[in-house]
């Protein structure tokens, strides 16, 4: 009976990926699907994102990417890690991910590595950048976690040291991805965004109100860090679109581990 109800109900609900294992073997968060389940549709979507990124501005190639969002819990850390990993999967590209959220660091949690030493230490001069650049921390991806939590993150980020650091990194890497705090809460994103090539705004569908998105966009624009594009997460496609042949084909093309709920 319950099975029947489930089957009937599943007809009316579009497919949603459910992560079975919250944490993979080596401490990696189960939601890093690019790593854990590379054949899933979501991993495919990240690859699409990667392709779009390549073709985004062909005349002026993007090297430094900043990912931010309007408010917290929008999936920017997840997106940045997934995107960075997907980029790193591309043979021939050297990618480094920097966790510049000095107030609520999250990248180290996702990847199961240590927080310190990290970015803050580099900026304060306590750590050497070579430590991070020697070998990739995660697959082919180099990672610089947050580091020691400091009292004045904004001041640290606006110091001249960042520019020097960027010069060094630009020489060695093809893509530098920064994961920053939300725009509306603090100015870290605005400050960092002004020195990056591209700023991408991560928006969580069904959660972020429109006015907030607009407000954060304007804030970034005013700080000379205008987002070049947006990334939409947490999308649930409506059923009527799901049942259109093309979508059906698209979703069933790749068999995934997730089950429909």
């Amino acid at each position: 009976m319950r099975y029947l109800f489930g089957r009937i109900a599943s007809f009316f609900t579009p497919p949603v990926y459910v992560v079975k294992k919250p944490k993979a073997a080596n401490g990696v968060d189960g939601r890093i699907l690019a790593y854990t389940d590379n054949n899933s549709t979501i991993a495919e979507q990240y690859r699409v994102l990667r392709t779009n990124l390549y073709s985004f501005s062909p005349e002026k190639p993007i090297k430094t990417i900043l990912l931010t969002s309007s408010q917290s819990e929008e999936g920017k850390t997840l997106t940045s890690v997934n995107l960075a990993y997907t980029l790193s999967l591309d043979i021939g590209k050297k990618v480094i991910l920097i966790d510049s959220d000095l107030r609520r660091p999250a990248v180290h949690k996702m990847l199961g590595c240590d927080r310190k030493p990290g970015f803050a230490d580099i900026l304060s001069g306590k750590a050497d950048i070579e430590y991070f650049l020697s070998k990739p921390a995660f697959g082919n991806l180099h990672v610089i976690p947050t580091g020691t939590i400091v009292d004045n993150p904004s001041e640290m980020l606006s110091s001249g040291k960042i520019k020097d650091l960027l010069e060094i990194l630009k020489a060695r890497f093809d893509y530098i991805i920064f994961d920053t705090p939300p725009v509306i809460n603090v100015t870290d994103a605005s400050v960092l965004g002004s020195i990056c090539d591209a700023v991408f705004l991560v928006v969580k569908a069904g959660v972020t109100p429109k006015d907030m998105v607009e407000e954060s966009y304007n804030m970034l624009k005013r700080a000379q860090a205008q987002p070049k594009a947006t990334i939409l997460t947490n999308v649930i496609i409506p059923i009527h679109q799901y049942y259109r042949a093309s979508y059906r084909y698209y979703y069933r093309y790749r068999y995934g581990h997730g089950r429909r709920v």
Binding site: G30, L78, A205, G206, V213, T230, N234, I237, V261
Partner: protein, 546 residues
Amino acid sequence: MEKEKAIDVYEMIGFVLRHPWILVSSVVIIMSTVSAQVDYMDLLYEAEGLISFEGASEEETYSKRDLSANEIKANAIMQRTLVSGNVEKIMTKVWPDVTESGDPERYDRLHKRLRGQNGIKMNYNKRSDILEISYRDTDPNICRKVVEATISALEEENKTAVRKKIETGLGFLREQGRYYKKIINDIESKIAAIITVLKEKANSVGKKERLLISEITDGVNTSLLEQGAMLKMAQYEEKTFELNMQLLEAEKKKENLEEMLASGEFPATIKTEQDHRGDTYVEEYSKMIAEKQLGITNLRAQGYLAAHPEIAKLKKVIEALKDLIENRAQELEGESLIRLSDMAGMAGKEAAAEVKVQIRQTELEIDTLKDKIDMLNEQYREQTQAADIAETPEMREISAQAARINELRKELEINNGYYDNIRKQTEEKELKSRMEEAEAGVNIVVIERPRVPTDPLPFQRQQRLLIGLVFSVFIGISIAYVIESLDNSIRSASELRELLRAPVLGSIDRISTLREHAAKSFRRRAIMLFLAGFFIFSRIFGRFLF
């Protein structure tokens, strides 16, 4: 284009599917209350009675709307039956315990109910000429009683209406009859009075007179009339009257002239009758007047009343002629004025001589008149003697009475004629009314008496459940719609693109964890449990609530 349309439909209902539990819970909650109520609801029964209007013309149609005579009658009766007074009658018959003074609220409610939408229904079926009376109630016995009472009220109403119509018409006729009867009685009593007087007189007069009286009292036309003696007598009366008046005038004129002579004053104008007496116009007019007056006399002698149109006509003509004579006299007077004014210049002696001449003329007039009167008297005496009537004052009185009786008899005849006419009309109408009343009773036939309904009206419960279902779905959808419209978040890449005018690099699907999934299913189960509980609760407690 077609694809877009299909999408629109899905998008329209898509918002409901985003909040499925709202719709489900609204349906479950409302439907459980409805189904609990439905189990304990009182079902309606309906009783029906059929009445047909027979006998009246079936082919007759009135007006352009092709209403048959039956339909008009039916409509009229329906309206009259549902009048307030009849409704009260029905109420006392069916609910004798509910009175206006005892329980005014309930009384009012019942009264309104019977006359309102859920009350007594009357429908006239044009095609089959049948009037259907029906009533719905939860108690089947009441249904039957109400319809029964309505039918009897309808029959009553029909009879009284017919009776009322007849009564007004008859009443009027009866009034008229009484009026004429009174006049007739009056006249008859007058005649009787005269006859009594004459009969009394018969003892104290001569033989001839007695004969005359007996002839009169027996009501036979007297020989006097046949001989035309009455005519001549009437003529004589009028002529002597006129001549006497003329005599009086002449004597007065003579007096005036003698006064004038005695006083020695001579006014500038002297009215001289002579002038316009001799005028040809005046003569002609006078002749015509005399002719007309003779005509009047003739008619009066034949027994016509003074108010008869012929006599009135003649009188009018006489008046006109008299006016003409006046005018002519004035004309002539004017002339004579001119002439006499010359006279005023004359000496007193000459005027006196003139006056003397006039006096002499007037005296001559008087003599002529007196002669005429004497001649007439002679004639009359001859005629009455020839007719073998003694010229006694009693005879004259008797003949006058006879004439009066004849007059009254003519009047009596005329009035009797009116009275007979009215009596005929009244009889006709009474007959017609009796026929109509008989017909009215036959016209309404109760084809089917109402029975106590055994089964309630069908599908009441199902109807209520259906309404509940539709209503709950509607409520669910509207709540879902409200929630959707309150949500101003971004839902698709196109929305985002439109909002920021910046390209969307990519859209990532939702990644859900086991924990979220567990929370979701827990929520779902909780809602289901709650709804099931509500359903059971309504089932158990429905008994107490409904």
